[in-house]
Symmetry: none
Subunit: 400 residues, 2 copies
Amino acid sequence: MELDLLRELSVPSDSKILMLVIDGLGGVPNETGRSELEQAHVPHLDRLAQESLCGLTVPVAPGVTPGSGPGHLALFGYDPLTYKVGRGVLEALGIDFDLQPSDVAARGNFCTTDDAGRIIDRRAGRLPTEQNAETCALLREISIPGVQVFVEPVREHRFLLVLRGEGLSDRLTETDPQREGKEPLPVRALDADAEPTAALLNEFIAQAKAKLAGRHPANMLTLRGLAKHPPMPSITETCKFRAAAIAAYPMYRGLAKLVGMTVLKTGMTFAEELETLRAHRDEFDYFFIHYKPADSAGEDGDFQKKIRALEDIDGFIEDLHAFQADVFMIAGDHSTPATIAGHSWHPVPFLLHTQSFARHDGTEGFNERACANGVLGTFPAKEALSLAMAYAGRLAKYGA
Amino acid sequence: MELDLLRELSVPSDSKILMLVIDGLGGVPNETGRSELEQAHVPHLDRLAQESLCGLTVPVAPGVTPGSGPGHLALFGYDPLTYKVGRGVLEALGIDFDLQPSDVAARGNFCTTDDAGRIIDRRAGRLPTEQNAETCALLREISIPGVQVFVEPVREHRFLLVLRGEGLSDRLTETDPQREGKEPLPVRALDADAEPTAALLNEFIAQAKAKLAGRHPANMLTLRGLAKHPPMPSITETCKFRAAAIAAYPMYRGLAKLVGMTVLKTGMTFAEELETLRAHRDEFDYFFIHYKPADSAGEDGDFQKKIRALEDIDGFIEDLHAFQADVFMIAGDHSTPATIAGHSWHPVPFLLHTQSFARHDGTEGFNERACANGVLGTFPAKEALSLAMAYAGRLAKYGA
């Protein structure tokens, strides 16, 4: 459903909606012919699936492998093809940087250039993170009239650059030439309004080049994904509910904050997240709770570890069920099959559990094949929110 | 399929399409775990489903509960999010009022105000219908220069107001303050073009107030859903067929007329509707025939009565089959689960029966769960028309 329609139809209610996102949930079979979920011993997920509406979500579009941003935005009800989050913004979210709507953020990479200024290592030998921090400290000395400059280390050769000031634009090109043997490109404005911002960034780059000269291996930098915080309608206003996010990792907190959720302070373990959930039951109507280890194991290409990560979260399903949300969804932002060792385009298992008005389908369990035959079929992930709103009694009739 | 594409591809043919709309068809399980359709003894529907293409239709969008207008427009091939029918227009259709394209229609409610003009009963004690008619007769004495005024009783406190004249606009606000203890609001124009219409309506309201003063309980009125007949492409032109509508209730006749169908005179029972269908076989190519009792029983929250309504229509399926349409569809405009006692967002069982070129799926019966596993899957209701056109040999190839 489009957000405008959702805003038109949504009505307040005292019902509760809980969405558990198992990051990288979906998989594909390995040589045994069965996927991670099919091999995992997940009796609580299986039993819940039998009493739920099941299906598979398509995060962005058929065949499209989503990043974490689009995958989560879709589950939050935002069409990821309409609401785009630039790489610079994601980098900021990923380190809990408090990005303002007028800021321009960029992902910076330290690199190594030769005497002629040509890049000979685009990642500066994957610089140790301490050396990165040191180099960033140096760059923080740069001063540019009219704007505030933030330089924050991320990891290895990656850092975050943020310009803060009035009238900045992100209609800008990247400086990474994408190939070694070439010089970094200047920032170019994609329209006239962006000319001043391009000039400020080129000034930053010139000063940085001077400061880094003679250092090794990080004697230069490139800027990618120059982006502003995208204008996002607030999920709280659209849905007329109080929404809370519980996530151990900063990027997911950041994505939730982008759409207007209240981010709750929590710990690094899922047990702590669960405790946070329980402690705030009365203050919110909608809860997003995030579980990361399934994705990490999939990214590592470790099939057995992903199975264990799924079995671990299975141990919390009873507790989440006992929270007694009127609508309890279990979803994934994308698939991360261990055999691929990365995100993939495969539709993602989904279940919606509700006390009332449900046509259960007797799905046999919670896995890719069983969910493909669920009553919800294969559907766009962005529809999950409106389905949940309907079952939570939070949508008025459309038309007379 | 978009109507423009349908218009481009449609070709004449001598094939016949029949669509039975079982109003409020879909349901959800009650405490037995089975829905109305699953509990009903409907052997003819079940057998037909086994020889048909089955699926579930989504009337508007996932999670959206449609009114009767959007539900039917979708089955007629019109995207209900694009083609909107205002409440005033539906009220006019509901009493067979012959609304013209330039008319502005409003749903009127008689109400009771106190001496200070504040509403103390928004429905005037649900006025007896005879008293409504009497009050409407009084309002018909109102004369406003430049426009014709129609005031027609509907039921209880509800009436229809229509202004007929040149240059009227429906970009207007409603006068119902939605709360007791408040005075009715004036009509306000939402753009400059609507100013004259707002002035005419406020003049009507002022005269009505004077005429109703001292009466009880209906001493005032409010106007809602001010709307004009929306511009609608004609289904007859789009599909190059002659389309007929057979419906006992005026609102469904009105909706069919809105999209350009010929409305056939018929009786109040389905047996009479069937007779009308047979009598006009040669004159038309497409027939929409409407069955109301399933919706009424669902609205009443009467599970057993809805079962009986479904069993009653089952008794007519052989007759409808014997009509030998090339394509015979059975659809619902929306679900009306008895457990909800109102319309709902649940996808609606659908079958398409055709003699030729069908991939039957051996669906076990005609109900929500069996149709969820049908070959058509879960699909937007507005696609039903183009599917029918294809199976009726009425669509040319797209592209070379």
